[in-house]
């Protein structure tokens, strides 16, 4: 049908051109006949139809070529998988060619749009997947997706850091319980036991060592929502709660210590005050004694409250120091003098080695005196009867070092790092038997820091301790 209409059009075009040519020839011949130019008119009569024939052939050829090209491309489409790549535009001004070219152009535009859409969808999917990956890795809690046996399928960066691994590959495919156990000093940790023995969802805490500072993790194991793929059925969340646990312990310590330190003197004050109020038979000397006790207990209470406020304010940066040029030798004399009653009571053998010429230091005299008194007081307090306490002062190019050594009960290496923490007191029963607020060394450490110095404690259990307070020369 296509061919028939094409043929009809071709024939009609040819006839049209031929007729036009013939008319031109006839009119030319008639005109020239009158000019009596027979040869010219024969030549003209011969050239014109020939020209017209030639023109008609060229135009016909072009039309036929366009039709052939379109027909060929349509044939190729029927056998080719890709329609768009098969189609080629035609170079021609013919109406059919123009129509064909428009068709090809639209098909190519559509193809380009489809490709762009496909690429965009692919990029968005990839971005979405990457976004979730970024979210997963940005979480501060350690997350692992594991199978029923606790073998890790996926893990985020936070868990890699918690387990002190370098890369995710180090952890993939390994048992999460084994990895947690490797970070814990004791296999008998209660949390680990629960994770090994209790199936299904579990929430527990795992302590890396008996020292809270070394790390406490809250581990939450739960089932993944439905739709999980094979090998991914449990979600593990590991959160580092060390700081929370330490804050909790400090609060408990504070409550315990404050209660004890406030209650005891208050109880004594109340008891003696009641006795004085109710018992009229007490002689004057005894009354005086009772008043002295009340006074001493009130002083103890006041000192505890002051220490507490001072340490809190220092930690908060709310206390400043008032520096003045201070004669260190005289300061030391005052501090030692203040401790003489305790030295005598404990029968301590006290020695001091102080250089003959000590530099003047620009310090807050009261605070440094209190700090030194704390250290010396502790040395005396925790040294058994007739033990040794020694004060040694050294000066180097940058610091003055006040060393206070004793042959006292010392402290274990485990507890040593915690000395100087607020309210910390050793669990040693000998220490617990002696009154103390656990604030003295915390205060001393803060004083040292405020002056740009530091406090260092060395100790050996049952052998003794050495506390060094170092203050800068300038």
């Amino acid at each position: 049908m296509v061919m028939a209409s094409l043929t009809r059009r071709l024939i009609s075009h040819y006839l049209m051109y031929s007729l036009a040519g013939l008319l031109v020839c006839i009119s030319t011949a008639l005109t020239l006949t009158w000019r009596d130019a027979f040869m010219q008119s024969v030549a003209l009569a011969a050239i014109f139809p020939l020209s017209v024939l030639l023109l008609g052939t060229v135009l016909l050829g072009r039309a036929v070529r366009n039709s052939e090209s379109i027909e060929r491309q349509l044939r190729e489409i029927s056998t080719s998988a890709s329609v768009i790549e098969t189609l080629q535009p035609l170079v021609s001004g013919e109406v059919t060619a123009i129509g064909w070219n428009r068709l090809v152009e639209q098909l190519q535009e559509r193809r380009t749009l489809e490709m762009l859409e496909s690429r965009l969808t692919g990029s968005m999917n990839s971005l979405e997947s990457k976004r979730w990956e970024i979210l997963f890795d940005s979480l501060p809690d350690g997350i692992a997706v594991c199978d029923d046996h606790g073998v890790i399928a996926s893990v985020n960066n936070a868990l890699v850091a918690l387990l002190q691994a370098k890369t995710k590959d180090e952890i993939h495919g390994r048992s999460i319980v084994d990895l947690l156990a490797a970070s814990v000093a004791s296999d008998s940790d209660a949390g680990l036991k629960r994770l090994r023995t209790v199936p299904g969802p579990v929430i527990c805490e795992v302590c890396r060592t008996s020292n809270l500072m070394d790390g406490v993790w809250r581990v939450h194991r739960t089932c993944l929502l439905t739709g999980q793929s094979h090998g991914e059925s449990m979600l593990w969340i590991v959160r580092d709660v060390t700081q929370q646990k330490m804050a909790e312990e400090m609060r408990n310590q504070f409550v315990f210590t404050a209660t004890h330190e406030l209650r005891t003197p208050l109880a004594n004050i109340k008891a003696y005050a009641e006795t004085l109020a109710l018992d009229e038979t007490i002689d004057v000397e005894r009354q005086k004694g009772f008043f002295n006790i009340i006074n001493a207990e009130a002083t103890r209470l006041s000192r505890f409250v002051d220490e507490l406020l001072n340490v809190n304010q220092m930690e908060a940066g709310a206390i400043s120091i008032s520096r003045h040029d201070t004669n260190i030798a005289r300061l030391l004399e005052e501090v030692v003098e203040y401790q003489q009653p305790q030295i005598a009571q404990q029968q301590i053998i006290f020695t001091q080695t102080v250089p003959p010429k000590l530099p003047e230091l620009r310090i807050d005299k009261d605070k440094v005196a209190a700090a030194l008194a704390n250290i010396l007081g502790n040395a005396i307090k925790y040294t058994p009867l007739q033990g040794h306490v020694r004060l040694l002062v050294e000066v180097d190019s940058a610091f003055v070092h006040f060393h206070i050594e004793d042959t006292g009960i010392g402290i274990s290496q485990e507890e040593l790092p915690r000395l100087g923490q607020k309210f910390f007191r050793s669990n040693d029963s000998r220490v617990q038997a002696i009154t103390g607020s656990g604030l003295g060394l915390a205060f001393t450490r803060e004083v040292a820091k405020l002056h740009g110095g530091n406090m260092v404690v060395q100790s050996e259990l049952n052998k003794g301790s050495r506390v060094t307070l170092s203050l800068p020369l300038d």
Binding site: P140, N156, A158, A161, L162, G215, Q244, M246, A247
Partner: protein, 111 residues
């Protein structure tokens, strides 16, 4: 210079010199000691740091990114007025949690 101390599980880095190009390597060396022990929780105590330059700012961002990569965090404590202005002018103030004192900064990790 730069010193490292610990309060609980939190590393506190204190500086006494500007956080500037000539001191950045020293500071980086101190910060490096905060990593590799679990999730890094770092407080940069800036009371003694008089100013920051571009190298210092870059270091802060690097350390922050390293912390975030491990699920940890770095807080800034007690920056002086100049450091605060530098952070604000460079648009970095919103990238860090800034506290008025070390205690608050350390305490934020316990919440």
């Amino acid at each position: 210079m730069y010193e490292l101390s610990k309060q609980g599980a939190v590393h506190i880095v204190s500086g006494r010199v500007p956080m500037a190009a000539e001191y950045v390597q020293m500071a980086l060396h101190v910060f490096d000691n905060c990593f590799g022990h679990g999730q890094p929780h770092i407080v940069l105590h800036m009371q003694g740091i008089p100013l920051l330059d571009s190298a210092g700012l870059e270091l802060l961002l690097d350390i922050r990114d390293r912390c975030l990569h491990s699920g940890g965090a770095m807080q800034l404590a007690s920056p002086n007025a100049l450091c605060r202005d530098i952070l604000r002018a460079t648009g970095l103030l919103d990238h860090f949690a800034v506290f008025d004192d070390v205690s608050s900064a350390v305490g934020s990790f316990a919440q």
